[in-house]
Amino acid sequence: MVQPERTAETPTTRAVGVSLRSVSKSYGATAVVRDLDLEVAPGEFVSMLGPSGSGKTTTLKMIAGFEQPGAGSVHFDGRDVTDLPPERRDVGVVFQNYSLFPHLDVGANVAFPLRMRRVPGQERAERVQRALEMVDLGGYERRRVAQLSGGQQQRVAIARAIVFEPRLLLMDEPLGALDRRLREAMQLEIKSLHERLGVTVVYVTHDQEEALTMSDRVVLFRDGAIEQHGSPREVYERPSTAFAADFLGDSLSISARLLPGGLLEVPGLPAQRFPLGTGMPVGPVRLMWRPHAVEVTAPSGLPAEFSADRLRIPVEVLAGGYAGDVTRLRVRFAWGDEGVVATPSRGIDHRRGSSVDLHLSLASAVLLPVQS
């Protein structure tokens, strides 16, 4: 077993790279993770995002060693650890429900991994103190776990997971049980811990906003496989499927059709030359815009228009919500497609039933394949 170094002088050397190679896992007849490949670079902060039951926790458990893959292998820095038991992987794990030991006080909880590693008493106490200070719980050693608030318990759990300076930190919805305000504060704190420790982090969440704000890279799960992965900006602005587009946030999309000769046809309008190479076969596609990429103006009363690389389409407002600097509108096209746009809160009638004009630039559109 590789013993973690004692000090944090050279943090990056401690971080480990993780790779999952063709990993599958089934429970009985149900395939829960399917032929999954994933590379996590040393020191990277990767979020696994996806709907409930998409296999995020199962994947995390295989990295931690709690579950054995049915097929495939798990590697740390290129070394096969598939058969290594969890206690020998040097991985810190933080659970949604904190999982603190109820029979131990805060100090003893944090000292637990050091005791398992036979770190002598004096050094142990110092490291416990330092870890607790890192999560702003200095002086809480003698507190009983049950006397702490949820946020405090989760910070004890984090201190316990980092005190032995693991090379990899796994977190399974660590903030899921906390209220919104506390969650946002803890997001910042976890981010800053990641930067200070330089440790590799794999973070599970089903909150897309959390994944986008915290991560170097977002891995989107769907039915036990990776739908898409990339930087937050990539996956948000350039989703590769309608599922990814929907899961990562609000959007507006219309069905269209690619015709031979680089032409694009939008319902009810004459086909136009499409300005971008698409790499997509001729046939139905969806055009998607994020809310901020759509311009909204008061209704002109004119019919829809498709010229050069711009579309102007009148739509009906289904619902409007004032949200400070922007107003979000849910709108419906004449042919039935619905979507969400955002517009500065000025001069737009956002009451239900009113109508507005949308200005859509093809340059900022994302072309999504239509699922068969």
């Binding site: 206690e87 030991f101 029979h103 637990f112 398992m116 702003d136 405090q152 997971a161 504060a185």
Partner: protein, 298 residues
Amino acid sequence: MAGVLTTLDPTVPGAAVRRPGHRRGLGGALPAVPLLVVLGLLFVVPVAVVVGRSFTYPDGATLANYRTALTDPVARQFAWNTVRTALVVSVASCLLGYTYAYAMYRAGRTVRVLLLFCALLPFWTSLLVRSYAWTVLLRDRGVLNELLLQLGVIDAPLPLLRTSLAVTLGMTQILLPFVILPVYAAMTRFPPDLALAARSLGASRRRVFWEVFLPATMPGLVAGAVLAFILAVGYYITPVLLGGPGDQPIAVLIENAVQQRGDWGTAGALSTLVVVLVLALLALGWRFLAKGLLGARR
């Protein structure tokens, strides 16, 4: 490093945050009132009569009965028999009960139900019958001795009946469910993630058991131990039927005082002392009993 968190976390207090318990009004206990009245009549009244007699028998207010009860060497001997037996039986019940409950916890569904059924079997036969059944098994020409003789393991019957061993066996079998149930309940409340957390922190399976699982389920075991001890202190039939002269419990002495000598005073004093002992134990073990039997209320 005083940081972001202290300023942003609304829950960081100067003092510990106490979770407000689930306080329910006394009104919630209303449906229990009729039962409490019946229990009161059947239990409190007779106890009050016995306690009363211990201070007044045979003629007016007196502490003489307690002097006798506390100084009489015979009473001391019987008291020691009782406590010793109860201790041995509690320890045996805890060891066996924890192991049994752990087997239930680890077993598959079918085996678990079967084990639970077997654990509860003793509740469905009378105490007297079960104690006699042990005499059939353990006496000189009993099932066990015959078997050993047949097998040639022994030449002469082992003296098994009328020994402490027989008492321990008989009482442990009867008290086992009282340990198994709270221990098993505590085990089912053990969050499996706790074991995973411990593994990831560097504990082997063995250390997870000794350092996390056992301590976390300890309230259940303590509850079972307290129950078993309290019940064992009051046992009468089993030690009388299975035990030797050195195993006779205080209950025998009490019965003797009343039946043979009509000495309600000494009997009352002895009984009161036993009740006080039991109540003291209950007070000491209350926290664990509440936690072990009802589960931790947050």
